[in-house]
């Protein structure tokens, strides 16, 4: 547990430090995220060896105190967060086009890292509210780094995020008023399916879905993610939307009474299928590259939503593994995709997808990164996305009654293949290539490729990953 706390406190302390110390911010953040990654990795090893650990903060026990819990999933997510932060920090420091030099990006990204780490460890409804609010404010502050054109989407994101938090908070208040506790495991033992519970769950769910940009509450996401600086888009897509998803999953899979969860699961699963198709369709139609990548986030979150819905519907805990594999694979792939897209967009001098003509020649590594990351989003073997989809498909296919859901997954796969290869095929156009405005930066392109290679490497560890994540719920 000490290690996990260190992984949380290192970026937090760095964020405070950087408020006063402005020089060499990039180097400090890289060192801090690397340290955080190392201790998170050690924490993961510790959990694998010794099992779940809990900490009552300040020595106050529940129900009065706040409880931190470090289980396999939390440790994995801590490691994942630190890894993504490290990769993005290196890019932000080294790339000419990152738009983040000498800005407030550095303390903010550390704060983001710290608040997410706290979110992964918390098991307390109100503590989650605080981390969510922090996450939202930091995310908005990071979006406006890219200048006045982002102010509009940022304000809209901020207001929606605040409204969502208040929605969630009202739900928390109702639950507390009814049961008198905030700890999720205590609540789980007391909760029953009455009107207060239903209303509270509805309010909390709406708030969290809005924050996680789950269909149909996703409309703020494409503008906000596409207008942010490249490094920030990567962090937002890979990490920020996963925080509320984590809480949503915790609420429904650990706390909600079964008789409420089962009908809700159907709605979640249907929303997931629609998200896959609608997000994929929007990504296929948009003329702008970063918007395409942002819509792909909406679509990919549909897989997570589908897994969550079916998990609740059938009460099959194995589907948790699918959900979290999707989150990990999508996060890494999306970092790669946003970095590659941002780098290509800046070098080729246009935000349009059509400017990528001939990009396999002008920026081969970035384009390759985009394609490899896209392969994982499609779910081509042997990538992390494939493993996730495989785990999701197993219970779907085992019983002929469930086959219609598998059809939804198939259509989602085809949609994602269509928007990924829309870009890739264009990049092979040699007849009329778009000449770059700057000399392409090889190092930044390799950085974009790295997370994509990691997500394909995930497949090699898929067996332990699946086993760990399946155990999380037991």
């Amino acid at each position: 547990m000490t290690l996990a706390l260190a992984s949380l406190l290192i970026p937090l302390a760095t964020a405070l430090l950087l408020l006063f110390l402005r020089s060499r911010a990039g180097a400090w953040v890289i060192i801090a995220s690397l340290l955080s990654l190392i201790v998170a990795g050690l924490a993961l090893a510790e959990v694998v060896a010794h099992g779940t650990q809990t900490l009552a903060i300040g020595g106050w026990d529940t129900p009065l105190g706040i409880r931190f819990e470090l289980n396999l999933l939390s440790a994995l997510l801590l490691t994942f967060t630190a890894l993504v932060h490290l990769l993005v920090a290196v890019y932000a420091e080294r790339s000419r086009h990152s738009q983040t030099r000498d800005t407030d990006y550095w303390p903010l990204s550390c704060l983001l890292h710290g608040s997410l780490a706290a979110l992964w460890l918390s098991r307390d409804l109100f503590n989650w509210y605080v981390t969510l609010e922090l996450l939202g404010l930091v995310a908005v502050a990071m979006i406006i780094i890219s200048g006045p054109k982002a102010y509009g989407p940022a304000l809209r994101y901020l207001l929606l995020s605040l409204a969502a938090s208040l929605c969630y908070l009202l739900g928390v208040a109702l639950l507390y008023g009814r049961y008198g506790v905030l700890d999720i495991d205590l609540l789980a033992t007391m909760i029953d399916a009455n009107h207060t519970t239903r209303l509270a769950l509805l309010l909390m769910t709406l708030g969290l879905m809005l924050k996680a940009a789950l269909w149909p509450l996703h409309l703020w996401l494409p503008a906000a993610h596409a207008s942010a600086p490249t490094a920030v888009s990567a962090l937002l897509s890979a990490l920020v939307v996963k925080g509320p998803l984590f809480i949503l999953w915790m609420l429904w899979s650990r706390m909600a009474p079964v008789e409420v969860a089962q009908p809700a699961g159907l709605l979640f699963a249907l929303a997931g299928i629609v998200a896959l198709l609608a997000g994929g369709w929007a990504a296929l139609r948009t003329p702008f590259l970063k918007t395409l990548v942002a819509y792909s986030t909406v679509a990919q979150l549909g897989y997570a939503l589908l897994a969550l819905g079916l998990l609740l519907r059938w009460q099959q805990t194995e589907l948790s593994a699918a959900l979290w594999l999707f989150v990990l694979a999508h996060g890494l792939a999306k970092v790669s995709m946003f970095l590659a897209a941002g780098e290509m967009q800046a070098t080729l001098g246009s935000k349009r997808v059509s400017s990528l003509k001939g990009a396999t020649q002008t920026m081969p590594i970035a384009m390759f990164a985009f394609a490899v990351a896209g392969g994982s989003l499609i779910g081509l073997p042997p990538s992390g996305g494939f493993v996730a989809k495989w785990v999701l498909l197993q219970p779907l296919l085992a019983d002929p009654v469930h086959w219609p859901w598998a059809l939804g997954v198939l259509l989602g796969t085809l949609a994602s293949a269509a928007y990924v290869f829309r870009v890739v095929a264009l990049a092979f156009d040699r007849a009329d290539p778009n000449p770059p405005n700057y000399n392409p930066d090889a190092f930044a392109q390799w950085l974009a490729l790295l997370p994509a290679l990691v997500v394909w490497g995930m497949a090699l560890y898929s067996e332990p990953l699946i086993l760990w994540l399946t155990e999380v719920n037991r």
Binding site: L64, F126, Y129, V130, E133, L137, V140, A141, I144, P148, Y151, G152, A154, L155, L158, L159, L162, A163, S165, L166, L169, L170, A173, L174, Y176, G177, G180, L182
Partner: protein, 100 residues
Amino acid sequence: MSSTLIFLCAGSVLWLMGLHGLARLHHPIRRIMAINIMGSGTFMVMIALANRGEHSDPVLHALVVTGLVVAVSATAFALRLAVAISAHKSGKQQAPEPNE
């Protein structure tokens, strides 16, 4: 008990009014105010719930205080952003751009 109920209802009505305002209004300042009304409604519900038992519940009071701190800072941030937007817009009106 009945005063608790009145406060509960009033809080819920405020919350709904705030939500309605957020959905219907367009001016940034108005929307920020709508959010604050929503926040006040939430806090009112929480204060009312704190009074539900024999003794008033200190945990909910603590939560409200925390919530107020968060709400104040978020409002400050949103206002700053709204000012920046209007400054940017008025700057633009002096030198209009075709694609706005």
